[in-house]
Amino acid sequence: MTRLTRALLGACAVSALAVPAMAATTLTIATVNNGDMIRMQKLAEDFTAKNPDVTLEWVTLEENILRQRVTTDIATKGGQYDVVTIGNYEVPIWAKQGWLVPLDGLPADYDVEDLLPALRAALSMDGNLYAAPFYGESAMVMYRTDLAEKAGVTLGDAPTWATVLDAARKMTDKDAGISGICLRGKAGWGENMAFLSAMANSYGAAWFGPDWKPQFDGEEWKAVLNDYVSVMADAGPQGASSNGFNENLALFQQGKCAMWIDATVAASFVTDEKESTVADKVGYAQFPNKEGVDNHGNWLWSWNLAIPASTDAPDAARAFVAWATSKGYTNLVAEKEGWRAAPPGTRTSLYENADYKAAAPFAEKTLAAINAATPEKPSVKDIPYTGGQFVAIPEFQAIGTAVGQQFSAAVAGQVKPDQALTSAQQLTEREMTRAGYIK
């Protein structure tokens, strides 16, 4: 072998060894399709510019498909994703299973202390943060100030259910095609049951007693469902049993709803002058409570970025999560698209920012709603679970949807509220017994 051949072979061997060390890391990011996440995808060039050795692949899916897809992958340790977008419902359950990497070692300027306390608590287990919040939301009342004035009703900052239900009936103008109130009716644990679970919390009801026995046979749930069904019949839109967030949003934006109680994120849509015909006529109030019950529903939801334990690039994934949920990212969004577009509901500093408060008139109400949530004790009763508009147990998705179908049928007039509650009690008790909660 000549010296030249040896030299060439040596060079090849060195190159072969060097290539893996310099090879780019590819991060596959699974995310939900909503405005804030799509914006993140658009602005991710900032991250890749700062981390030129990292390439990003995006998998953007609708919420339910994403949940099914990511759950399958993470439970089987498929390892297809390096960063996943999950809700605060999944975080404690998955962290307990050991499916998520704890987010320790975040950069010093990340400022974990700046995260809203309620969210930080919901995303932590044993003092470790398992997901970083990208945006957070609670629920509140959005109403038409002009119609309230016309009907002579005043909701105030923190109305009771009696005030809200009365106002809904008074603001209804069927001749003009205006429904007094729009509420979720579509069956699903994240649809009507998100709203009804929060409403139940604010009525002093609970999903389960201390021994995990379902509580649908109690007086509180009876009051919840009767009030909900009757106000939907008197003041709700037609076909309310199939309305979810999007349908109610469309009705409100078109001026067909006098009042809408839903996620705080809706405030930015109903005040968007390009899309809403009532953008300058919207007032806000806290999620109602029943007289004498110190509980405003405890609705708390956040979309969070987490790192599956099956990832083969935890360091790059951690760097991405830190970038996307940092104060720097919020500033980047504000710089590129204005403060109104900043991802809401995750950091205290955002709500101390005068520019943001000026751009988002709903900011203070959103913060108040999020801060009012106590996910570690969502009901005033003695309960064995955490959550809020959901119960943080793996079985809740199936049980919540089955109960939601009963309640949706009650809104559609197919069954009486009492029948729906009896069925809900039976099916929940059966599933909880099967799952081993009820001995």
Partner: protein
């Protein structure tokens, strides 16, 4: 739209997966349908019914086992893996359609070929296939359409590299926010290629579907 999603990658994945799964399916189904049509046994009818009955099983029931198998075989987010699954999903329909077409061909013609010294391969290749071209073509077209529109397996077994147009559409649907314009544009772009293909091949499709019927 191209700024947010790589349409052409999704499009190419759809083309490769739907055509690939169809060709793989035909490779298995033509001999299977031949044997059932021309060499039936007492159990052929039962076998056909069993094949059809597999279509009645909810796909989600076998998702986890198949997912784990794919993960171990390194076939997740892989076009060949999706091709194999779609081929298996559509195989009963391909076999049934081809079986029906083959039965319309008189067995005597094949017997004559055999008497002239044709072996099995030559019989299928030079006698049966040319006579059943309209049937095979329409089966192929129908299978391409089925594979193009399949959303459950393509969404569950792919992430980014092998994701076809079904994943492209799914990325524009949102439960929080009204993005109908983008969703409509994405849907149009996803169905346009198959619509154009259907338009150009409608003559063959109709001919194939009515093949053997009293005309």
């Amino acid at each position: 739209m191209q700024e947010r999603s790589n349409y052409f990658r999704h499009f190419m994945n759809s083309v490769v997966i739907s055509i690939g799964s169809t060709l793989l399916g035909l490779l298995v189904a033509v001999p299977a349908a031949w044997s059932m049509a021309f060499q039936p046994t007492r159990r052929t009818k039962d076998l056909l019914m069993w094949m059809l009955s597999t279509k009645m099983m909810p796909a989600v029931g076998v998702l986890i086992p198949i997912y784990i198998l794919f993960q171990r075989a390194g076939l997740l987010d892989n076009r060949f893996g999706v091709m194999v699954v779609l081929m298996l999903m559509n195989l009963p329909i391909i076999v049934w359609m081809l079986y029906t077409y083959f039965r319309e061909i008189p067995g005597e013609i094949l017997e004559a070929a055999r008497m002239d010294g044709a072996g099995l391969w030559n019989e299928i290749r030079h006698v049966l296939t040319p006579m059943a071209v309209p049937g095979i073509a329409s089966t192929m077209l129908l299978n391409i359409i089925l594979a193009w529109n399949e959303a459950f397996w393509t969404l569950n077994l792919t992430a980014s590299k092998a994701a076809p147009l079904t994943a492209f559409i799914a990325s524009y649907s949102s439960p929080e926010g009204l993005f109908y314009a983008k969703l409509s544009a994405a849907s149009t772009m996803a169905i346009a290629p198959i619509l154009v293909m259907g338009w150009f091949s409608q003559k063959q499709l109709v001919r194939g579907l009515t093949f053997g019927a009293v005309k």
